[in-house]
């Protein structure tokens, strides 16, 4: 294999570390507690024996602090990460996560604040929620904001439930019962239909046109049935294309008595440039862990705020964080209040206030960038994707002509003739030191490769990525085997996922126990 002549841009991963349970050595400990400083009672007098564990926590690891440090430090080296290089995972907006935001989130005044602290004693924390709501309202053009949802999908559920609650109120329970259809384009992310289903809607799929946009004719036709509660639209859509008929789309849905929900996962293409509220959208969710750079953390935590029109505001989850009109602080009242009094609210979607730590980081992101900075970031994100679209067009099939926004989709059409498919190209990219793009999504594009560079990469890195992709295109012709067997540079090769799913092993078990069953 040729990995010798590969110019790698990130770390080669090859390494061996057992499971912590396999490293456990009886008697080793990694903690120390202060001595108990109160008069002790026999534990059985506090908790009756029958309510106590009798397994002595058998099987839990016994390790020292050094063991733990080495265990995780070693495992960490098997991961690719944004801090190591370009991570063009389409639809996920893998932008740089500022360490400054981490410092902010760790300020003791926030980190040690209990969610049930009295509102008067948490004014700073509430003010941050309020200000972030305010900024997100301005950025989306939608005045009603709830930061309670924990992630994008959670925000979708919240938004769709709001639509349902609004229609129930508008049409009355009886009539509204006939509006239980949620329209979703075939290009949508899987969470959209799943969220619609959670809210008790049945899903109808809208076709996309050959240019990759919502099929207006099909939309009109389905809307004519009169059972449409709403449309869930991603814009720019998951193909990286701006739905240029957005206003007309909203019009059609509104005329049919429905509301428009926008999946805002792709807001990194719009911040400072255009606002969903101005397009006719009624409610949207944002992914603070994408557009607003809160860390992805190996899969969360996220934060999926819901922003709505004034009309839908009464239906947002409770509690809401509001500002007292008059400065009551003098009169002993609180300036920022936790308000439960929204009788039409869909209710609570999460305990406490949502993923507060992410709100701190997002506000810090907005403040460090400033309004020009936010716009410049969007411009850079789109420029970078457009550059890749331009540079790779000669080697890879680009299924849609329309200019891409922050991300661009290619396919393996040309390479597959030689038997090299999207999966192989993705795996080979690993050998070149890049994280692969999103693959086989959106589903409507055969062998899709969705590439989102984000604004965090410079010209140099873009060119290295382009060079790698071109080299792979050449390899697919000259030496398909090399690509088909990639990656060659990682700790392990491709894993047999089918076998893993057939007889799933989802936890470690002590040897004997394992053999036992």
């Amino acid at each position: 294999m040729r990995s010798a002549d590969i110019t790698k841009v990130t770390s080669h991963i090859s390494h061996n570390e057992a499971l912590i349970f396999e490293r456990s050595q009886t008697g080793r400990i990694g903690y120390r507690l202060p001595p108990l400083d109160v008069d002790e009672t026999a534990i059985d007098e506090i908790v009756p024996k029958k309510f106590q564990r009798d397994d002595d926590l058998e099987g839990l690891p016994e390790v020292s602090e050094v063991d733990v440090i080495r265990h995780f430090t070693r495992m960490s080296t098997w991961n690719y990460s944004i801090d190591l290089g370009m991570y063009p995972l389409g639809s996920c907006t893998m932008k740089y996560n500022s360490r400054l935001n981490e410092k902010v989130a760790r300020i003791p005044g926030f980190a040690n604040l209990h969610p049930l602290a009295h509102e008067k004693e948490a004014q700073g924390a509430l003010q941050i929620i309020y200000e972030l709501q305010h900024h997100l309202a301005e950025i989306t053009g939608l005045p009603g904001v709830s930061l309670q949802p924990a992630a994008g999908a959670h925000g979708e559920m919240t938004g769709v439930m709001i639509i349902r609650a609004y229609i129930d109120a508008r049409d009355g329970e009886g009539a509204s019962a006939n509006r239980r259809t949620m329209l979703i384009p075939d290009s949508a992310h899987g969470t959209n239909p799943a969220s619609a289903h959670l809210s008790g809607f049945s899903v109808k799929t809208i076709r996309s046109t050959a240019e990759g946009l919502t099929d207006l004719a099909h939309l009109r036709e389905i809307c004519s049935h009169g059972d449409v509660a709403g449309l869930m639209l991603t814009n720019p859509n998951t193909l990286g294309l701006f739905e240029r008929n957005i206003q007309e789309i909203c019009q059609i849905v509104h005329d049919a008595g429905g509301l428009v929900y926008m999946d805002g996962a792709n807001m990194n293409a719009l911040v400072g440039i255009a606002r969903p509220g101005d397009m006719g959208v009624d409610v949207i969710h944002l992914n603070l862990h994408k557009t607003f750079s809160t860390p992805h953390g190996g899969g969360g935590p996220g934060c999926g705020p819901c922003c709505s029109t004034a009309e839908l505001e009464p239906f947002l989850p409770v509690p809401r964080i509001v500002k007292s009109e008059t400065d009551v602080s003098a009169g002993g009242g609180a300036t920022f209040r936790v308000d439960f009094n929204y009788p039409q609210s869909i209710g609570r979607v999460k305990a406490f206030f949502g993923n507060y730590g992410m709100m701190l980081r997002a506000l810090a992101y907005i403040q460090t960038h400033g309004n020009d900075g936010l716009r410049e970031a969007t411009e850079a994100a789109v420029l970078n994707s457009r550059y890749i679209a331009h540079e790779l067009a000669s080697d890879y099939e680009k299924p849609f002509d329309a200019p891409s926004m922050h991300e661009v989709v290619f396919t393996d059409k040309r390479q597959s003739r030689k038997g090299v498919h999207t999966l192989d190209i993705a795996k080979r990219l690993i050998d070149y030191g890049f994280h692969p793009m999103t693959i086989y999504f959106p589903l409507i594009v055969q062998g899709a490769m969705l590439i989102e560079p984000t604004e965090s990469v410079g010209h140099q890195e873009l060119d290295q990525f382009v060079a790698a992709m071109r080299a792979i295109a050449r390899e697919a012709v000259d030496d398909p085997e090399l690509v088909l067997n990639a990656p060659h540079s990682t700790r392990i090769g491709r894993l047999d996922e089918a076998a893993a799913a057939r007889k799933p092993v989802l936890r470690w078990k002590p040897k004997q126990a394992a053999s036992a069953g």
């Binding site: 912590i20 349970f21 400990i29 903690y31 506090i46 009756p48 564990r53 002595d56 926590l57 839990l60 733990v68 430090t73 960490s76 990460s81 991570y87 996920c92 400054l100 989130a105 005044g109 926030f110 980190a111 969610p115 049930l116 009295h118 008067k120 700073g124 924390a125 003010q127 924990a150 979708e156 559920m157 899987g190 239909p193 899903v203 400072g272 992805h296 953390g297 190996g298 899969g299 969360g300 935590p301 934060c303 609570r348 305990a351 406490f352 206030f353 993923n355 701190l360 403040q367 460090t368 309004n371 936010l374 690993i430 990682t490 700790r491 392990i492 090769g493 491709r494 894993l495 092993v505």
Partner: protein, 438 residues
């Protein structure tokens, strides 16, 4: 670069957006701040959170436990911190093995067979458990018994409102604070019995007895744990017969952070593995037979099953699950019990001493872990705000926040970080203030 791709201005990048939709003004958000200014600003706001600076006996679903220094160090490693969902196993083995260990630890502590890679938090995990019980049993009634965290119940309500699930409540038994001996509503239409233990009042429930009743009716038993630290000492819900166990994992190395991000633990029996919501990591092998880990049983999930998925969850609480894993492994077999025992000892000392104070009593008779309800001589909210103002102590939670009919009750939580000095200051404060206002 613009020119290289044949454009003239940044504006050209947005040609596909109709002119009239493009913003012609600057966003009305603040101008850019330097690091110096930004930190100063946040420090000012943090200083406005008086409650974060004092000795505290607040629990009720969010707990102050000691967090070993290495937890934050490890979760801050770029390789964990700036990676995303492990879609590409060859370069995500770090995250994948951590999740596999997390799943194992959750199973060990809850006494269950299989656990997922995490849920948003305890409250949403409970809601998903209820939905799962409906899928498993094809029954549509769910009975929530006793003192369950009110905010958890609100979330469950929101989730089930459109799922055609009927949610019944069985009040707690007022003298014990536990679920009453016989449970109304439990019948052959019941999908699940939901119980929290220790419950919202800190009372330990007889889970085994409840499991039996649930199973006799052909229903599942869902056990919710808001104070995961209790698992170090109390019989595991699995050992007591639970079918689904959900917990809030915040106690395991996660800062209070005004309510989030936390992490939901979700565990069940092997036979229900394919009905579980969220992500699962499993063992897998490559061509050379090397062991690795992958996301598995994906056919349950939204990106494949779309509206038929077991849940809509996608991004979960990866980094917090990592923190919990580091915590559980650092404390380990001995430490998890030690902490739990210290919590129980300190809480029992505190409740005993409070009950000796003139005018204070313990309204519930059930055994408790590290939280208990105190019935005070007067309005609890006023008592606690005076305690904060005059003694700089957060004495606990006035139950009136959730139970208007219990104006004089408050919930006190004591953990290993509450020193004897803090506890005694609380005792003196309660005595003096109650006395002075008497």
């Amino acid at each position: 670069m613009l020119h290289q791709i044949g454009l003239h201005s940044a504006e050209d990048l947005f040609a596909s957006i109709p002119e009239e939709l493009r913003l012609t003004r600057a966003l009305d958000t603040p101008a850019a701040l330097s690091e110096i200014e930004l930190l100063a600003g946040f420090e000012r706001m943090a200083a406005n959170n008086a409650a974060s600076q004092r000795a505290s006996f607040l629990g009720a679903g969010a707990y102050s436990h000691y967090i070993p220094t290495i937890v934050d160090h490890i979760i801050s490693r770029s390789e964990f911190f700036t990676a995303y969902t492990p879609y590409q196993p060859e370069i995500s083995q770090g995250t994948l093995q951590v999740i596999f260990e997390f799943q194992t630890l959750v199973c060990q502590l809850t006494g269950m067979d299989v656990a997922n890679a995490s849920m948003y938090d305890g409250s949403t995990a409970l809601a998903e458990a209820v939905l799962m019980a409906e899928r498993v049993t094809k029954r549509s009634k769910v009975v929530a018994c006793g003192a369950i965290h009110p905010e958890y119940l609100e979330v469950v309500n929101t989730y089930v409102q459109h799922a055609g699930i009927e949610l019944k409540h069985v009040a707690f038994e007022p003298s014990s604070g536990q679920v009453p001996a016989s449970i109304a509503h439990l019948d052959d239409r019941t999908a699940a019995l939901v119980v929290q233990s220790p419950n919202f009042f800190g009372c330990i429930e007889d889970v085994a007895a409840l499991a039996e009743q649930a199973h006799n009716a052909g229903a599942l038993l869902i056990v919710a744990v808001t104070e995961a630290m209790s698992l170090g000492l109390l019989k595991s819900p699995g050992a007591a017969g639970a079918d689904i166990v959900i917990a809030e994992g915040q106690s395991f190395g996660v800062p209070l952070s005004f309510g989030g991000p936390y992490v939901g633990l979700f565990a069940t029996r092997d036979k229900y593995a394919r009905q579980i919501p969220g992500r699962l990591v499993g063992e897998a092998y490559d061509k050379q037979g090397r062991r690795g880990f992958v996301l598995t049983l994906a056919t349950r999930e939204q990106h494949i099953r779309r509206e038929k998925a077991t849940s809509n969850i996608c991004t979960n609480e990866g980094l917090i699950a990592l923190a919990a894993t580091v915590y559980m492994e650092t404390m380990g077999r001995r430490g998890l019990r030690d902490v739990a025992v210290q919590c129980a000892q300190k809480a029992s000392y505190t409740s005993r001493r409070i009950s000796e104070i003139e005018g204070f009593s313990l309204p519930f008779s059930a055994p408790t872990f590290n939280e208990f309800v105190v019935l005070g001589p007067g309005n609890a909210a006023e008592l606690l705000s005076r305690l904060a103002a005059e003694r700089d102590i957060n004495g606990g939670l006035a139950l009136s926040r959730y139970f208007p009919d219990r104006p004089n009750d408050f919930l006190v939580c004591v953990t290993e970080i509450n020193s004897r000095a803090e506890i005694d200051a609380l005792l003196d404060g309660l005595a003096d203030i109650a006395h002075s206002s008497a």
